[in-house]
Amino acid sequence: MNLTLKIWRQKDANSKGQMTDYQISDVSDHMSFLEMMDVLNEQIINKGEEPVAFDHDCREGICGMCSMYINGEAHGPDRGVTTCQLHMRMFKDGDTITIEPWKAAAFPVIKDLVVDRSAFDRIQHAGGYISVNTSGNTQDANSIPIAKQAADTAMDAATCIGCGACVATCKNSSAMLFVGAKVSQYALLPQGQVEAADRVKNMVAQMDLEGFGNCTNTGACEVECPKGISLDNIARMNRELMKASI
């Protein structure tokens, strides 16, 4: 198929960006979206121009690196997939595809389609862990019985890959689905209880400090999340913070 691509080009963090048009032909239905981008970049390099910078790593939907806003949706029009898992069969011959970086004040553009998501790392550092003495006398995690439902719900929350699609999609650039998932994965397990109050307080404080917006419960993040992280995690985070503050 032949496509017109409108891609956000931005030289560096300090430059002003703009949309630039590209034509690409002979795109196979079976290509992933990133493979299509690779082919485009080869064309651009062959012309002696600067290729389009974009984030990618594992290309199997688990690393959370790819981050494109495609035709007005995070990770494109398919559901439950990252950009690397999006296939060109979702588009048709003659389509114009708009490709932009995540846009949020807390995710500044570094170059083209690459944004700085280190705000998520700093939120994690603020409390997204449990403190365990690993000196050799560590208790086996399986020695603490955990109800199947709690284990499953915690695992569902833990599947968040931190790609930032929730922030990119949210009209308020809120990070509450991400933080809700990270708080929940520990809040649901006995190992997470010891630091539960400090964890939620510190992670929410860091989230606010990073300049993410407020959740207004539109539910857009849940729909666009490649891992199907549920809004229930945001409600759980709200409960946890209320519990920790009273």
Partner: protein, 224 residues
């Protein structure tokens, strides 16, 4: 606890708590006003009670005023913060793919409701405050009107078609605001399972309450 209400989540929770109070207020306001259609005498009795009872006037009324002002001020504060967090706009953004129009435009429906409340205050609340607190007339009677004045005043307001039209438009926006706000408030206070259970109740509430007020406005306009 003070720190909690300064956090992003604390602000959400305070929005939800004021919303719960306002949603309860709407329900009792409708229940009383609908009497003006079915039983004008009882409407007058209840209106006089609500307008002169010290608990209602000096305890509940200030709470209501606070809730209304707080909900609007906090709504604007959150909107401004969210705009700031949002940064640059997308060249193409398909919001309809993942959320409802009314959930994304609460500020728009909110501003319409605010404009309506100003009109509503000019129509009813300011004259009431003037009569009772400035002129000191707590009798509830008016020259030329048999019995209490409240029903006559209400009907008189709905004579002008422009006012009726403004009320109808405002109630449509109120319905849109409630269509998202009802369940959203439960989510904000952490009651995710209640949010899901009450989804249909929320839809019913957001249709029935505004329709009830529209019915009252149209009924008095057409029957006079």
């Amino acid at each position: 606890m003070g720190g909690f209400f300064k956090s992003s989540i604390g602000r959400k929770v305070s929005m939800a708590l004021s919303a719960f109070f306002l949603m309860f207020f709407l329900l009792q306001h409708l229940a009383i006003n609908i009497l003006s259609v079915f039983n004008p005498d009882l409407f007058n009795e209840v209106s006089h009670f609500m307008g002169t009872n010290p608990v209602v006037q000096f305890a509940l009324q200030p709470v209501l005023i606070f809730a209304v002002v707080f909900h609007f001020v906090m709504g604007f504060v959150l909107e401004l913060r969210n705009k700031k967090a949002n940064g640059a706009k997308y060249a193409k953004n398909n919001g309809a793919a993942n959320s409802t129009w009314f959930s994304r435009n609460m500020i728009l429906s909110g501003i319409t409701i605010l404009a309506f409340i100003l009109l509503h205050f000019i129509d009813f609340w300011f004259p009431e405050i003037n009569t009772k607190f400035i002129q000191g007339d707590w009798s509830g009677v008016m020259e030329g009107v048999e019995g209490y004045r409240y029903h006559e005043e209400l009907v008189h307001k709905f004579l002008h078609p422009a006012r009726v039209a403004a009320y109808v438009v405002a109630f449509v926006f109120l319905g849109l605001h409630l269509a998202h706000g009802f369940t959203s408030a439960f989510q904000s206070v952490g009651a995710a399972s209640l949010r899901k259970k009450l989804e249909k109740v929320g839809i019913a509430y957001s249709i029935i309450v505004p329709l009830g007020f529209i019915f009252i406005a149209l009924y008095h306009h057409l029957n006079h």
